[in-house]
């Protein structure tokens, strides 16, 4: 059915000359009775932001833990980190969301599976956690590289002063490592937001999902996706700008990128 709608849009645009542009469509009421079509898109945008931000928080927390584990001398920690990263980065995100959403409930004992399926907002939580774990593997690898790029003597100096391993990471290694990987982390944050569009496949009505429904109801495919595109661009422009400010704020005087 979905493919049919898409192809219909194509035929209308390409095949027939008479595609009826109607930019006023955004201010017409949507058939769900939740306001205008614009309201529909904006509600999708809000869900995209909620999913993206929650997924990013999860990615940062788990990515940091796993990234640190991969730099510890402990073999067990290193192995756990290795398995985590390879599991979450070697499978397509789409497959992972299907796994968590469709397969996991079937693998669990019946009652637990049923409980999981009936959770309110299941697509939202699945998407946030699934995308968060997927992105955490990427954050972990970058943090590992950031820590690895610090001189070996930094850890030694911290250790020689009597700082414990936890303190060395907290006060010496991580503040520098995160500064170093801030630019690539910006890209990962943007990727996280963009990846929320994949959640349309498990029924999350985020921005892309709402643009699709708008197209289905109104047949104004170009208007719907132009608006969605602009909204994505806008959100990511805000993120990029905010991260630039953050980079400048934490820059170290006299050091690489600092002034």
């Amino acid at each position: 059915m979905d493919a049919q709608y898409f192809s219909e849009g194509r035929v209308r645009a390409g095949g027939h000359v008479n595609y009826h542009w109607n930019w006023g469509i955004f201010f017409e009421p949507n058939p769900m009775g939740t306001g205008t079509y614009l309201d529909m898109l904006l509600s999708g945008l809000v869900l995209t932001l909620k999913t993206g931000v929650l997924a990013w928080i999860i990615a940062l927390i788990f990515g940091s833990l796993v990234g640190v584990m991969r730099t510890l001398p402990s073999k067990a920690a290193g192995w756990f980190g290795f398995c985590w990263v390879e599991f979450f980065r070697n499978m397509p995100l789409l497959v992972q969301l299907f796994l968590w959403f469709f397969v996991l409930p079937e693998l669990l004992p019946k009652s637990a599976g049923l409980w999981l399926k009936q959770l309110p907002n299941a697509p939202f939580w699945t998407a946030a956690i699934g995308i968060g774990f997927f992105m955490s593997a990427r954050v972990a690898v970058q943090l590992q590289a950031g820590i690895g790029s610090l001189p070996r003597g930094q850890k030694m100096a911290a250790t020689a002063l009597g700082l414990t391993t936890v303190q060395s990471y907290r006060y010496v290694l991580l503040p520098m490592a995160f500064r170093i990987i801030l630019p690539p982390l910006t890209s990962e944050f943007l990727n996280t937001i963009k990846n929320t569009a994949v959640a349309i496949t498990i029924g999350l009505l985020e921005l892309t999902g709402q643009a699709r429904s708008m197209q289905e109801f109104s047949f104004q495919v170009f208007e719907a996706f132009t608006a969605a595109t602009l909204l994505y661009l806008l959100v990511n422009a805000v993120v990029v700008t905010a991260m630039r400010f953050l980079e400048r704020y934490v820059a170290i005087p006299g050091y690489i990128t600092g002034k």
Partner: protein, 243 residues
């Protein structure tokens, strides 16, 4: 103060970096460790505060065995000051915060006390005006003086120096050595890995010469410079003192 007895360290059965090293440093003594590069002198000094593990033998500092699994290593290390070849100041912290971090987090000193102590030590190494700057804004010699002050802020019972002037431009070497000479004159117990034979002549009590992971010569300064017993030490001295 430091007892090193029969220490062996190897990375693999065929790659031994320390062989049967035995020596000691008594309270108030200044011991210079020298030798060609790759002779294990840096490794030996890093074994003293357990930055490097070793496979055989014993090292104890002020009666505490560093290779005993029950030893509280962070606590022991906090009493052993260490200065590195590449300074290893923490680049994201201001100079004064470099001096305060471990005082507060390890010794539990209050911020006021730590800052007061830090400023006094910066004054002593002539860098009070730089307190609010960041490490990258200082010259190499200044950074190394800060690193010494940072170690002293912990009130160490002994100071370890691992080639403290090797990464410095020649004109900055003396400002660092001056601080170290002062420290020696005040009676600080010091173990110093260095090629600065002038420093050794001036303040060392004993000189240890290492080659290929072994302590070849361990003699009072006068004997070492006057009549080194081993061929290898003689050759080494003739090379580094020839000009």
């Amino acid at each position: 103060m430091i007892e090193i007895s029969h220490v062996d360290k190897w990375y693999s059965p065929t790659f031994q970096v320390l062989t049967d090293c035995t020596t000691s440093v008594t309270k108030g003594e200044v011991v210079v460790v020298c030798g060609p590069s790759g002779s294990g002198k840096s490794t030996l000094i890093k074994c003293v505060n357990a930055l490097e593990p070793f496979q055989k033998g014993d090292i104890s500092v002020d009666g505490t065995k560093v290779n005993d699994p029950k030893t509280n290593l962070p606590k022991l290390r906090s009493r052993v000051g260490m200065v590195f070849q590449h300074f290893e100041l923490f680049p994201h912290l201001k100079i004064i915060d470099n001096l305060c971090l471990a005082q507060q987090k390890v010794l539990g000193r209050s911020s006021d006390k730590a800052v007061a102590k830090g400023m006094a030590l910066l004054d002593r190494v002539g860098l009070k005006e730089q307190a609010q700057k960041f490490p990258a804004q200082l010259s190499g010699g200044q950074q190394q003086r800060v690193a010494i002050a940072r170690a002293l802020a912990m009130d160490p019972i002994v100071m370890l120096f691992d080639e403290p002037t090797s990464a410095l431009d020649p004109e900055m070497v003396s400002e660092v050595l001056d601080v170290m000479v002062d420290l020696a004159h005040e009676g600080m117990t010091m173990m110093v890995v260095t090629h600065e034979m002038g420093f050794a002549r001036k303040v060392a009590n004993r000189v240890i010469f290492m080659d290929r992971g072994e302590i070849v010569e361990d003699a009072p300064k006068e004997d070492f410079f006057g009549k080194p017993r081993s061929d290898r030490a003689q050759k080494f001295l003739s090379k580094i003192l020839s000009h």
